[in-house]
């Protein structure tokens, strides 16, 4: 009897008590004149530290940072925007994902209305333009970091292959796609190790620098056109694979991490942020990597983000003030110097003494920043389109299958068919 009474009461208590107390929990409405801003970020950033710094300088503003994994972050944001409530005051958007959010122009604040024009001059042109709508009168986000690519190479592998190891010598040695292949063959012959880690890396060599890839701005599919850049990139990856220059270390897997750590392949054509990852995750590789400029055909941008303000926010001005501060050249320098190693999108930073003097113990004391800064000069406006991530994955699939022994042309045709299926929805 007593037991069941207790059970009954507890049951009722939770059923109804929670219905009552659960409601009306709206944390952005704080009564005491303090503004709380929800800020969603993904991946590795130093934004939590910067937010604390901002809170100290601006009493009355509180910033709640939530960090998530890239995919989860964007899907969560998408769900919130789609339902029309629950989006944060400020959200980070990755460049590949950005275009799919551009359909929802009415769910974002136009940063031009909040004064973004005043800071436009501080940022790289191409980077800024990607953050706009196609008419150029609506700005979705302010630029954070970019991912200019350079060549990370293992000096021990180069040495073993009888190649020079100094950055200037390596740049002289590898000035074109053909040189790159030649060096790859020499490394393969002398050390047995592949030139690059994965098919994706090989494919990205060209696609990351292409001004147009799958779609043009009118939304037409380009991959069946003669000599389109996706096919070029695909063919290069296949060619490298056929010559045995591609390893089987899929990025972000533990096997891959291990291979980077041990030097099981020679070269990463990585973006600036890869440096931060290596320092944190490949301790044994300290001192064994150097950075050099890639041949012009392989120059490109890989990744980078924007900070946007969803329209739902009750505090657009406060949010904008924080965002402008967060991506200012001074803050970008801090983000660059932090563990996250976010590469600045403001060329003003490249002129700063602190930036130029940064040396990396991990890269044997080399000052790597200048190589990436130099790489930004070869990058131009890139159009991706709303379906980019999905169609990109289809090509990676095809390449993976080729590596497993499938016929390259058949796989290409199958990928084209799958891509058509994807965009016809």
């Amino acid at each position: 009897m007593k037991r069941s009474n207790l059970f009954w009461m507890v049951g009722l208590f939770f059923m109804f008590g929670l219905f009552l107390t659960g409601c009306g929990d709206d944390d952005s409405a704080s009564g005491d004149g303090e503004v709380t801003l929800d800020f969603w970020v993904f991946g590795a950033t130093n934004y939590e530290d910067l937010a604390k710094e901002y809170e100290e300088e601006n009493p009355g503003v509180k910033i709640k940072v939530r960090t998530a994994e890239t995919e989860e972050h964007h899907n969560g944001l998408f769900t919130a925007l789609s339902a029309g409530s629950g989006a944060p005051d400020i959200a980070m958007l990755e460049v590949d994902q950005l275009d799919r959010f551009k359909d929802a122009q009415d769910r974002f604040a136009n940063l031009y209305d909040l004064g973004a024009e005043d800071v436009q001059g501080k940022y790289l042109d191409w980077k800024w333009k990607i953050g706009e709508n196609s008419d150029g009168d609506f700005l979705f986000g302010l630029p954070t970091d970019i991912g200019p690519k350079a060549m990370f190479y293992r000096i021990d592998v180069f040495e073993e292959a009888g190649l020079p190891t100094e950055p200037t010598e390596v740049e002289e040695l590898i000035q074109s796609k053909e040189d790159f292949m030649q060096v790859g063959k020499q490394i393969k012959e002398n050390t047995g190790k592949p030139m690059v880690d994965s098919m994706e890396m090989a494919y990205r060599a060209i696609i990351d620098g292409a001004e147009q890839s799958f779609f043009n701005q009118e939304g037409d599919l380009l991959i069946e056109n003669e000599g389109n850049s996706v096919k070029q990139a695909y063919d290069l990856a296949v060619e490298m694979h056929e010559q045995g220059l591609v390893g089987e270390y899929t990025m972000w897997t533990p096997e891959w991490g291990n291979a980077v750590n041990n030097g099981d392949f020679a070269v990463e054509m990585g973006a600036a942020w890869l440096k931060g990852w290596m320092m944190g995750n490949a301790p044994d590789a300290a001192g064994k990597f150097r950075v050099a400029t890639l041949p012009a055909e392989f120059a490109g941008n890989w990744g980078g983000s924007y900070i946007s303000i969803p329209d739902e926010t009750d505090h657009p001005e406060e949010a904008y003030a924080f965002v402008e501060w967060l991506v200012s050249p001074e803050s970008q320098l801090k983000s660059f110097q932090s563990e996250a190693g976010l590469f600045p999108s403001s060329p003003e930073v490249y002129e700063m003494e602190d930036f130029q003097n940064t040396t990396d113990e991990f890269f044997g004391g080399q000052s790597t920043a200048q190589y990436f800064a130099k790489a930004t000069e070869d990058i131009s406006f890139i159009y991706k389109g709303p379906d980019y991530v999905s169609v990109h994955n289809e090509v990676l699939n095809a390449l993976e299958n080729v590596q497993q022994g499938a016929d390259a042309e058949e796989e290409w045709d199958a990928a084209v068919e799958r891509i058509k299926g994807v965009i016809n929805r």
Binding site: D103, P386, R425
Partner: protein
């Protein structure tokens, strides 16, 4: 609070009616009211959070919608897109194969395990039961992480190490057509076997012990006991687990998604129907085709559960006739 107050009112009313004549009749009405009242919490909560999503999905199946912009009515086009997509049929195939490999052995091995665990002579009963049930209490994230490493693509993975010990070649568990299916089936099997065993065990214990006693006196061996007593009497529980396994297998989503990680929605080796519809909605932003897939899946689930339930009850019947 409402339930309680209605209860009070009913108590009062009950006092009045018991004094009256038509006691039997009022008793029946009273029972009906109580019954509806008692099942109402489920239906109320379902009406709040279950019905609206279901109706919304039904509506979306006839619309083209990217989740953000305007909806446009497209009639049955979503269904034809899905039904004409080879990848959809691949996902149906994958789901059935993984479902069969992951759940069918569970029924057989689950019954055997439950049968053993129910033996009177068995020592350390509780310990064995606890161990067999343990996998069920691990979270999916944990299972997927551990199995993700166990079945990773390189030679040092435990699974490949074992293959190599037996002189076989290493396998790319996450990208190989059968490798991925096998790895996921093993995960499903490992995680749910204990759960099914416990349900069978509950069923076994409702079988009177003297039945076995009598069979033993008649000289029936263990296999005969299993066949002529255990399985027929376990029938309702087998039907139950078959139903749940069928529904669960056709809705398989978390296991493959977490196991495959980043490549979950781009590779096709282990893409299940629910993954296919999730990919439509959240990666391809096509909520119309996603919803259409859900409705097609619903039909598939109804057909399969009906079929499986029918088949399972058929087996039991034959046994009974045979016995008689």
């Amino acid at each position: 609070m409402t339930t309680a107050s209605i209860q009070m009112i009913r108590k009062e009313g009950e006092k009045l009616t018991t004094q009256g004549k038509g006691k039997y009749r009022s008793e029946q009405t009273k029972d009906k009211i109580s019954a509806y009242l008692y099942i109402s919490p489920f239906f109320i909560i379902f009406a709040i959070i279950g019905l609206y999503p279901a109706a919304f999905s039904l509506y979306l199946a006839f619309q083209k919608w990217n989740g953000l912009g305007e909806m446009t009515f497209v009639g049955l086009q979503n269904f034809s897109v899905v039904l004409n997509d080879p990848l959809f049929w691949k996902s149906v195939y994958n789901t059935i194969i993984i479902g069969l490999m992951g759940t069918a052995p569970q029924i057989i091995i689950g019954i055997i395990l439950a049968f053993i665990l129910n033996q009177a002579f068995l020592k350390f009963k509780n310990t064995f039961r606890a161990m067999i049930f343990m996998p069920y209490i691990t979270s999916m994230v944990a299972v997927a992480l551990v199995f993700g490493v166990f079945f990773s693509n390189n030679d040092t993975a435990l699974a490949n190490y074992m293959l190599n010990l037996f002189g076989m070649d290493s396998m790319n568990w996450k990208t190989h057509e059968w490798g991925a299916k096998i790895a996921i089936s093993v995960m499903v099997f490992w995680r749910w076997i204990g759960y099914n065993t416990i349900i069978y065990l509950a069923g076994l214990q409702s079988i009177p012990k003297d039945l076995y006693e009598a069979a033993r006196i008649d000289g029936a061996n263990i296999v005969q006991q299993l066949r002529f007593i255990t399985i027929p009497l376990l029938k309702p529980f087998i039907i139950l687990t078959v139903f749940f396994s069928t529904v669960g297998a056709l809705q398989l989503f978390t296991e493959p998604t977490v196991f495959l990680g980043a490549s979950a929605f781009s590779r096709t080796e282990a893409m299940t129907v629910v993954m296919y519809l999730y990919r439509d909605a959240f990666s391809l932003q096509s909520f119309g085709t996603g919803s259409a897939t859900a409705i097609i899946l619903l039909v598939i689930i109804i057909i399969f559960s009906a079929l499986n339930t029918f088949l399972t009850s058929g087996i039991g019947k034959k046994r009974k006739e045979y016995k008689a």
